[in-house]
């Protein structure tokens, strides 16, 4: 028998105000793309007490993912959305998880994500990143996007930063290192970028709930 919902709730850091934990518990966040960025963003948000996650990816876990994504050997061959849901249940069994396995397109993006106040863009290819950001900014006026852009290689991790580029678009990353230019991806910089995205999500949730930042 694992811990009860109440025991897990009681285990959250009491140094944050109760309202903060309540805001996290009632927050709903979508993660588009469950690779190196998305899988880690979801794990960090689960640890932080998020109440509801919507996990979206078309792909299955492959052996080449293990260098930087949150999955393990036991997940090989599973759809990523399903594998990540299983992993998250090990961390927060009472977290509400919705999954969708399929390709996000200009035609279905608004329907999939429009009901979410915060969407993490965590795709791999630049054309998909651009498609999702453009579609949501044009068609979903209530949605704020936290995007990952530029985290390849093992260069200076301090170049990865968060910028609010548009009213409803935050971009985390160095903005330049590009796998299409032959730079590989490694776990640390990908996780740094994922951490920045997850942190920005938490800041948005706290701000939307009117909670002052606890620095």
């Amino acid at each position: 028998m694992g811990p009860t919902r109440e025991e897990l709730k009681a285990a959250f850091d009491a140094r944050f105000p109760k309202e903060f934990h309540q805001a996290m518990d009632s927050a709903r966040v979508a993660v588009a793309g469950l690779g190196g960025l998305g899988s880690h963003i979801a794990v960090m948000l689960a640890r932080s007490g998020i109440g509801h996650l919507f996990l979206v990816d078309f792909d299955r876990v492959e052996i080449t993912n293990l260098n930087r994504q949150a999955y393990g050997i036991s997940h090989l061959g599973m759809p990523k959305a399903e594998a990540l849901a299983a992993l998250l249940r090990e961390i927060q069994p009472y977290l509400e998880i919705k999954t969708w396995q399929g390709l996000v397109t200009e035609e279905n993006a608004a329907e999939l994500f429009g009901g979410y106040p915060i969407v993490c863009e965590a795709f791999d290819r630049p054309e998909n990143k651009s498609m999702l950001v453009n579609t949501l900014l044009c068609q979903c006026p209530e949605t704020v996007i936290v995007s990952g852009n530029g985290m390849a290689g093992y260069g200076d991790a301090n170049e990865i930063r968060t910028r609010r580029i548009m009213d409803r678009l935050y971009v985390c990353g160095d903005g330049k290192t590009d796998v299409n230019r032959g730079i590989g991806l490694m776990a640390p910089r990908v996780a740094v970028c994922a951490g920045m995205q997850a942190n920005q999500v938490i800041r948005l949730i706290a701000a939307q709930a009117g909670i002052k930042e606890n620095i």
């Binding site: 690779g35 190196g36 852009n149 390849a152 796998v179 990908v190």
Partner: protein, 64 residues
Amino acid sequence: MVTINGEQVNAAGKTVADYLAEAGYTTAYVAVERNREIVPRAAYGEAVLEDGDVVEIVRFVGGG
């Protein structure tokens, strides 16, 4: 002059599509905002930049 990503650029009179091509952007990899409103991709060819416009262009790179 048009402010693009914080810099003064002599781009008034050009369409967004013309400016993107000139500056070396790939249309499929960007998001463009003008005066705090997203410019839909389908409008890049018609949206003419005007003196005093403030434009933000995000160029997406691969990796995730």
